[in-house]
Symmetry: C2
Subunit: 278 residues, 2 copies
């Protein structure tokens, strides 16, 4: 693991690393924000999964999350959204397949399967690396994300029962088997058998018996992708069907951008801090 | 004036406009953040001048300022850093001259003079436009900025005595006649007579008798440009020579980036709010 950047922010440190990933079979980049508290004690971690086209840089630059992480004493871990490198399969003319669009699944179709193992990477390899190398409390972690990364946060928390103390999402793709983005990635990475797709779909996971862990989800009503891609009502219905509570907030006027995330990230991190420190 | 973007953030609105500028003789773009309070009352304004290579987009995306503006009831006005357009003179292979590097002066040398009238634009034309079109308190304004824009904020406030209630700056170019960035732009825009440069140099303005208005300035001690370009000690010496107080804070570990700005922008906006609402 090699540190490639170190920036002081809000009294803590925003560091960036490259490391050889055994899951993704390539070099991966991630950022970590260590709050000031991490200088004297081990801190809980919130993992942030970003959306289509992003790297680790978008959230750390645009969300304003570090201010709250410093106040709350939380580390933030921000992975990339896909494997990278010249030998990694890609669709260069598409923003929603290949690099920048790992969709947080383990691909089983070639040419994707060789590197696109993002589910294992974010749920297992990266947390192990973090716990080995940083002053964090082992196993004390939560997860959040945006859009494709909101989908990622939901499926990681639902599938890895007990692994995350809390989960939240901004404008997540709640029912990807029904969305164009999900169909494009799932058919490429997982093949034509739609039954296999359901193992990476939050709504389908709840329908098929996954424990309905509490979730905090924010959507903007002016989100240009809300109708066609996100389907929060499907996830809400699945939770209701199970008799489980879901906190789904629909915000008048907000769009899909980081300005929307910036507005509510403080509430999300406070929500996670309560679960992590409670 | 044409609205080209409108994004809800922290309960207020981040809007973007294009308008024909009489000062710069071209179409100019700027962003305005209106806090929630602006829906029911007129609010004070903080002008933000950005640094080399920036447009109006950098600060609104990276600084995290809107959160504090919403809390404090301040409008933020974020102009571009130079004239733009195909017929505007430029040095395409340089980031520190021409487009993105207006340096907040009125150019008197061709080919620059036709469009590079950024001093008049930010001190006169833009405030008039803002006060005519937005729910702001006329004449109740402050100014801040970063690097080249920190220089801009300082010279605007010092030269336009009484026009700004307060001024602050992040990593400003405090003595541009001595810095490579300043020399490059001043010689191009103003010509070889260095005496003319001093009218746009904060340190020289204080030396030559400008009223030493109180300033709040933050620098990072890990700023890679501190030694060669910024010269805060010269401005401090000029203030001391005049027997005037200056708040110059040197922060261990911080660099020149927006992560540094994000860390302290809340304190700057609170400083301005006190002056604007006091």
């Amino acid at each position: 693991m090699k540190q490639i950047e170190s920036i002081k922010e809000f009294g803590g440190w925003l560091n960036r690393y490259q490391h050889p990933s055994t899951s993704c079979n390539c070099s991966m980049t991630f950022s970590v924000y260590l709050p000031p508290q991490a200088e004297t004690e081990k801190v809980p971690v919130v993992y942030w999964l970003s959306g289509l086209t992003c790297t680790d840089d978008n959230v750390r630059t645009k969300a304003g999350a570090q201010r709250y992480a410093a106040e709350l004493g939380l580390a933030l871990v921000m992975p990339d959204t896909s494997p990278r490198g010249d030998d990694v399969a890609d669709e260069e003319d598409r923003y929603d397949l290949g690099k920048g669009a790992g969709f947080y699944v383990n691909a089983i179709q070639q040419p994707w399967a060789r590197h696109y193992q993002m589910y294992d990477y974010v749920t297992a390899e990266l947390p192990a690396l973090i716990e080995q190398n940083f002053p964090v409390l082992p196993g004390v972690k939560s997860i959040s994300g945006h859009s494709m990364g909101g989908h990622g946060a939901l499926i990681c928390a639902l599938k890895e029962e007990g692994a995350y103390r809390s989960v939240s999402a901004f404008a997540p793709i709640c029912h990807p088997v029904k969305s164009g983005w999900g169909e494009g990635c799932f058919s490429a990475y997982l093949g034509d058998n739609r039954e296999l797709w359901k193992a990476y779909d939050a709504t389908e996971l709840i329908k098929s018996g996954c424990k309905p862990m509490p979730v905090l989800i924010d959507h903007g009503l002016a989100d240009e992708f809300l109708e066609e891609q996100l389907f929060p009502q499907d996830l809400e219905a699945a939770y209701r069907e199970r008799g489980a509570p879901i906190t789904l907030r629909m915000h008048e006027g907000y769009d899909h951008s980081y300005h929307f995330i910036a507005t509510f990230i403080g509430e999300h991190l406070a929500y996670h801090a309560k679960a992590l420190r409670g």
